[in-house]
Subunit: 387 residues, 2 copies
């Protein structure tokens, strides 16, 4: 009887605890399971919003937002698919407001929009799936950046890095897209798992991958407390070029020396690659073409430079194609045929062709997406640092 009383008191106390946490923390709402990926590759999304008038699913596997329906408890849901196996960003549009899925901890790190991530597994595990293979690690680093600020970057080291203290590794620098952060290639691009899997299969050489933040000017404004110059915010135009130059200076004079000092790297140009997506792809091409003594492998993922910019700023690439072709072990150009930059890439490739500059291209289905970025990363990590 006494035991029962103790147990009762114990559960009452726990009940109180539950209730109180709900009050003390940001409101949690009822438990919702979302997304639920079914065996047949259909997905059910759920969102609790009793007062909302309209909730839609916005997912990168759908061409347009999909209406969700509300039940009597205020739970909105929709089942879509079957969906092609991949990892996709999605969000809910609640009365026109874009929100992450509160029931899902997998998120898309970005400075401007909020999105969650959903994985649809393949019949065979996908190249970025968590498999039972040796895993590398992903490290968040601070480094001394330009203008006396502290920069942040994310570094992948391959399996065995810690156990082989005499080995040195080549380094692939990956620059993410507009308003992405230094976390995006890790959390959305799954670069670590792609490399774990391809290294395990012997398809990629062990390498270090360095993922810096692409917009040091924003960080400088933030850390120095100075008002942000207008070009922190804009994505394009002359100011975007200023920003790209700032990035390039930070990469060449701060990031690379920091990495070479703190990791066991091979430091010759043949052991340094650079690649980037979208804005980061533009920064990659600019930094790569300006620093051919630093990088022998240059990869553009859904980016490209206009023939006009090539002519005005990187004339040397085409003017001495023989030298370019000797120096560049790889000039990689990849884009989806539905990408809004597809025609720009065609023009870029036509330009290179007309100058006899060699490149490898991969044109895929799809648009300006991280699904495509994962494909391009998968392909290029199997090429770089090989003979």
């Amino acid at each position: 009887m006494k035991r029962l009383a103790i147990i009762t008191r114990f559960f009452l106390c726990l009940l109180l605890l539950t209730f109180s946490i709900v009050k003390a923390q940001p409101p949690r709402g009822p438990l919702v399971v979302s997304p639920e990926v079914h065996q047949d590759k259909k997905i059910t999304f759920r969102y609790q919003a009793p007062r909302a008038k309209e909730v839609k699913l916005s997912a990168q596997f759908e061409k347009a937002p999909v209406s969700m329906t509300k039940d009597s408890t205020g739970l909105w849901s929709v089942t879509v698919g079957p969906v092609k196996p991949d990892s996709y960003p999605y969000s809910f549009q609640v009365d026109g407001i874009t929100v992450m899925d509160p029931a899902n901890v997998a998120y898309f790190p970005n400075e401007r929009f909020k999105a969650s991530m959903v994985d649809v597994p393949g019949e065979e595990p996908l190249v970025f799936a968590m498999k039972n293979v040796p895993h590398g690690t992903v490290t968040y680093e601070y480094y001394p950046s330009i203008q006396e600020t502290t920069g942040s970057l994310v570094v992948y080291t391959p399996p065995g890095y810690e156990k082989n203290p005499s080995l040195k590794y080549p380094v692939f620098y990956l620059i993410s897209g507009t308003t992405d952060t230094e976390e995006t290639f890790f959390k959305v691009g799954r670069v670590n798992l792609i490399l774990d899997n391809l290294i395990a299969e012997g398809k990629a050489n062990p390498m270090i991958v360095v993922m810096p933040y692409g917009n040091p000017l924003a960080r400088i404004a933030e850390q120095t407390g100075k008002p942000k110059p207008a070009y922190v915010m804009v994505r394009d135009g002359e100011d975007a070029i200023k920003r790209a130059q700032l990035f390039e200076g930070d990469l060449i004079h701060q990031v690379i020396p920091y990495i070479d000092k703190n990791y066991r790297t091979l430091t010759d140009r043949n052991n340094r690659a650079i690649g980037g997506f979208s804005r980061g792809g533009g920064q990659t091409l600019r930094a790569g073409f300006n620093n051919m003594d630093t990088f022998a492998w240059i990869c553009s993922f859904s980016a490209g430079l206009s023939p006009a910019e090539m002519e005005s700023n990187y004339k040397h690439i085409g003017a001495d194609a023989k030298k370019t072709n000797e120096q560049l072990r790889l000039l990689w150009i990849s884009v989806g045929t539905d990408d809004f930059l597809y025609q720009g890439n065609v023009a870029f490739m036509e330009y290179l062709k007309s100058k006899n500059v060699k490149y490898k291209s991969l044109l895929t289905d799809g648009g300006h997406t991280w699904m495509n970025v994962k494909t391009y990363v998968t392909e290029t990590v199997q090429i770089v640092f090989k003979n």
Copy 2:
């Protein structure tokens, strides 16, 4: 003239790029600056939601949600404060729906709610501020977990770890709260910066900090595709104890051996501490009391065990207080006087006192918050691993 044409075409192309990105990515809306922390420590929050009827700010420095007002463009805003320097979780309540601030990349990793983070700097830099001191690194690891799943954890190594390959370090295991993830002590608790700063001042010994995920059962369900048992979801009661036991098994038999194998650790009990917040604090006390041969330092942050549970499960702690006091270099109990667990902590301390079990306590202002957790971490890392 030709140059002008090239430039014009270039900018047109960039304009198109801007427009198209907006279409291809999740909707971004207009550029909003939020939060804006002013010199006088007031903060302006902004949220773009033309169709919303009511938007409120829910911030942990406010006792209740604060109404925001809408301008003619649909931009909601409010200026609050001055706010006491600290780092706070906040979110917007948009027609009753809790959302993160889309203009802010600093987020609170949690499985159930979405919140952003805002920093109000102090006149003197706070203990978790980014200072110009040597920085350690934070590494995301996968490890072989129970039931043939792959677990994830986050590891802080102190400045100089890589450069001193002959040095071995003590390890502090930190277990986060209910529905927090293995990222929360890093992203919200700022454990890495607290240690960087205190180590630089000579106030804390260099140490490794290991931050595991607190709910392996949820991960097992996720990875094995089995239906989740009910006790994945519940926070309390008998099933919560089952979950705590599973966590303890994973910690003792999987996490610690993995860390000792892959990091240069000191492996005796005097060089192992464990601490945790909320649910993680309960798991800490249970795992600590059950494994006194493993941990000599046990820290409860806003947690506590009931006298009833102490009597039924950890009787040995009070029954042989002399042994307990000899073994435990530190039993730390901290809680805010506004915490809903305050009375529970008083009862816990009364119980220990009645049994002559020694402990150190810190009662602070405030409630069940990560602001308090940062304070408790700051205090305890200056005590552990010292004579």
